[in-house]
């Protein structure tokens, strides 16, 4: 009973237990920094634990942790293989950067009385997302999903201090998110009725390639429910407003993690729970997931071009990027799956950095409309540089992570004999050139309005986390050992389990 053997439960239990403590802390001491410093330390501990888990999984092999020492399939099992270790590291890593980043931005954007609650809710949200990722129990996924979603609704609504539309955005998100979660539960019920078990691996064994209407219906409910949470086109309607009006820090955290986790759950259910050899899966790939992914890639990117609000533009861009991930999954090949996992990780890095830059602009200029970005390269050179690098990464310029994921997607498309798919990926990337290029043009070529007051660069507490994330965008673009190799091994393991 050493700490090391309890490692898998630390990322879940620590934030859940410490979140109420953050609420109880005196808000006035240390200039209101106490809850901030405390939750930052928690987030770093969680990240350290997740990195240790990733290291252990990569070197030793999958971890199976029995909660309360009850053996699966009766007890709840935390099962960590490479795929979810990668997502765990992404979520906790973004968390570890967002928490130190939050202080200045939050102080200017939300009601001072809500600061403690904000940190607690963000911690719970992170715990929920990590829980969804780590668990090997299907119903546990639902519980953690709702833990993270409920705190997300509250976090989005906190943006009401700046713009009251955050309230309606949060309400719409709540309605859509609850419908999605309930669909997911119906799907689980059907699978449970067919198998009598809730452990993911055990469902797979009990199904034994069995194919009937009930399992098909369950599969459909789960994909649609999770598609709602993942903002899969055309179920993304909650997302642009929620990301645009939420506090900037919340947008940065959610854009980098929440939708990725939902995509991960779709991948997990397709491969580990139902199995890729399930007769219904190829039809779902060809007629549901691929067309919607393509539609999302183009439609959302085109809409993004016409947005006047940078945060909303980035949100629409996320819908398109989710399309890329699902498109990769829909190839049904190991390479496609691996490309999806790489893009899932990389997109978290780029969107996190972009939204962080938007948060810096929001702090200093007080707006996230496009006009606020005019002449930004002179007014806030570092923030503008971060936005440009992350934006180029989003487009897929070489030397950035975006290039790696596009490259992986393209080679997966060509290797599976889908040259047309490769063409579509490149074509939709040009749309990204337009919407990112528009903002870059404003920042670099336009002059700031004459009467604009002089502004300072963003504070160091925000620049450093943003800088780390931007550096990660370049580092993982040059050194692909961690992401691509791990994703390939993860995809191999997932496909192997699916056979």
């Amino acid at each position: 009973m050493t700490i090391a053997s309890q490692l898998p439960v630390i990322p879940i239990i620590l934030p859940l237990v410490t979140a109420p403590l953050a609420v109880l802390m005196p808000a006035e001491k240390w200039g209101g920094r106490l809850p901030h410093v405390f939750t930052t330390l928690v987030a770093w501990t969680v990240f350290a634990a997740c990195a240790a888990i990733l290291h252990s999984v990569a070197t030793v092999g999958p971890i199976s942790y029995h909660l309360g020492d009850w053996a699966p399939p009766i007890g709840i099992e935390y099962r960590i293989d490479l795929a979810n270790a990668l997502v765990l590291t992404l979520v906790s890593g973004v968390g570890a950067l967002v928490f130190p980043f939050a202080h200045e931005s939050i102080r200017s954007e939300i009601d001072p009385r809500q600061v403690n609650l904000f940190y607690a809710a963000l911690l719970i949200c992170m715990a929920g997302l990590l829980g969804v990722t780590i668990t090997g129990d299907a119903f546990n996924v639902f519980v953690f999903l709702e833990i993270s979603s409920l705190s997300t609704y509250a976090l989005v609504a906190m943006g009401a201090n700046k713009d009251r539309r955050a309230l309606t955005a949060a309400f719409n998100y709540l309605v859509m998110g609850t419908i999605g979660a309930t669909f997911f539960v119906i799907g689980l019920g059907l699978l449970y009725q067919a198998t009598g078990t809730l452990n993911m691996a055990d469902i797979k064994i009990q199904l034994a390639g069995d194919n009937n209407r009930m399992v098909e219906a369950g599969f459909a409910f789960i994909v649609i429910g999770m598609g709602l949470k993942a903002a899969m086109f055309p179920m993304h309607l909650w997302m642009p407003n929620a990301y645009a009006y939420a506090p900037s820090v919340v947008s940065a955290f959610l854009a980098a993690t929440a939708t990725k986790v939902a995509v991960y759950v779709i991948i997990r259910f397709i491969y580990t729970v139902i199995g890729a050899d399930f007769a219904f899966a190829p039809a779902a790939f060809a007629w549901l997931i691929a067309p919607l992914a393509i539609a999302g890639m183009f439609f959302a990117s085109v809409v993004a071009i016409f947005q006047d609000d940078v945060k909303r533009m980035l949100a629409y861009s996320s819908v398109g990027q989710i399309g890329y991930m699902l498109f990769g999954v829909s190839f049904g090949t190991e390479q496609g799956l691996s490309a999806s996992l790489v893009h899932l990780f990389n997109h978290g890095l780029m969107k996190g950095a972009l939204f962080m830059a938007a948060a810096c602009v929001m702090l200093r200029i007080g707006s996230h409309s496009c006009n606020a970005y005019a002449g930004l390269a002179k007014r806030m050179p570092l923030t503008a540089a971060a936005f440009i690098i992350a934006g180029l990464s989003l487009i897929g310029v070489p030397l950035t992570v975006g290039f790696i994921s596009k490259w992986q997607l393209l080679s997966a498309a060509f290797d599976s004999g889908r040259a047309w798919a490769g063409f579509l990926i490149v074509a939709s990337s040009f749309l990204a050139v337009i919407y990112i290029g528009r903002v870059i043009e404003l920042m670099v070529l336009k002059e700031a309005p004459k009467d604009a007051p002089p502004i300072k660069e963003a504070p160091l507490s925000m620049l450093i986390p943003m800088g780390i994330l931007v550096a990660a965008n370049i580092y993982f673009g040059l050194n692909t050992e961690l992401t691509v190799d791990l994703a390939e091994r993860a995809a191999h393991a997932l496909m192997g389990a699916g056979r």
């Binding site: 009850w70 709702e146 409920l150 309400f171 309605v175 609850t178 419908i179």
Partner: protein
């Protein structure tokens, strides 16, 4: 006739589907935010009903421990179900009634046996049952209610319990329990549903404070004014 039987035999699913669609319709069709939340609740509740109905086993009783049942199932020592995960272990009678009853039943879809209780310990400890029982009863409020007299009536005297337990031993072999797991899952889902409703209502209160209305079309009109700085076209035309 066959079609009618087909429909009638699955009435629980029809109820579930009708409720689900009603709820979803209310969420989509109503503009009032409170009505939307009510629709969402109907939608969620329909799923609860679905889960509870799949846990029902024909002829099964409420998944509450029937005194003596475990002994009838025990074919010998060394196979304790509740602690099976940790290795075989005999349980004292009181634990078997309280904690054991909850955990043992969760394993019902498995083939399980409980060891280590003889009738003497059991009847001696039966007075503990009424105290242990209310919790499982509350949790597993199964469709047919408390079937088991020995545990369901807390005001019975101790001698009655002993007698009931002894009687139960004779019938125990053919007791079938309904599956308690869906009920437990739905308890969790109910808690989630309550939390969602609470957050939703809190948001509605805030929206009402900020906008002065909770009608969706009026909210959209107010947002349009905020965004474009002009009254909506409809009013301008009028």
């Amino acid at each position: 006739m066959d079609l009618l039987t087909f429909i009638a035999e699955r009435y629980n699913y029809w109820i579930f589907i009708i409720l689900m669609m009603t709820g979803l319709y209310i969420v989509i069709a109503r503009g009032n935010l409170i009505k939307k939340l009510i629709g969402l609740n109907v939608f969620q509740t329909s799923v609860f009903i679905y889960y509870i109905s799949i846990g029902k086993i024909t002829g099964g009783t409420a998944p509450i421990y029937v005194a003596g049942d475990m002994e009838a199932r025990a074919h010998g020592a060394g196979h304790g179900a509740p602690e099976g995960a940790h290795g075989a272990q005999a349980l004292p009678g009181k634990d078997a009634l309280g904690v054991g009853a909850i955990h043992a039943d969760e394993t019902l879809h498995e083939d399980f046996e409980l060891a280590g209780n003889d009738l003497a310990t059991l009847t001696g400890e039966t007075h503990a049952a009424p105290h242990a029982a209310p919790e499982p009863q509350a949790i597993h409020s199964a469709p047919e209610g408390g079937v088991n007299d020995a545990l369901a009536a807390p005001d019975l005297k101790i001698e009655d319990h002993a007698a009931a337990a002894a009687d139960a031993v004779h019938q125990a072999a053919d007791i079938i329990y309904s599956n308690p797991l869906p009920h437990v899952l739905i308890l969790t889902a109910i808690v989630v549903g309550i939390a969602t409703t609470a957050v939703g209502l809190a948001l509605v209160v805030r929206i009402r404070e900020a906008y002065g209305t909770i009608e969706e079309d009026e909210l959209e009109a107010a947002d349009d004014v905020a965004e474009f700085g002009a009254p909506p076209a409809r009013e301008a035309a009028a």
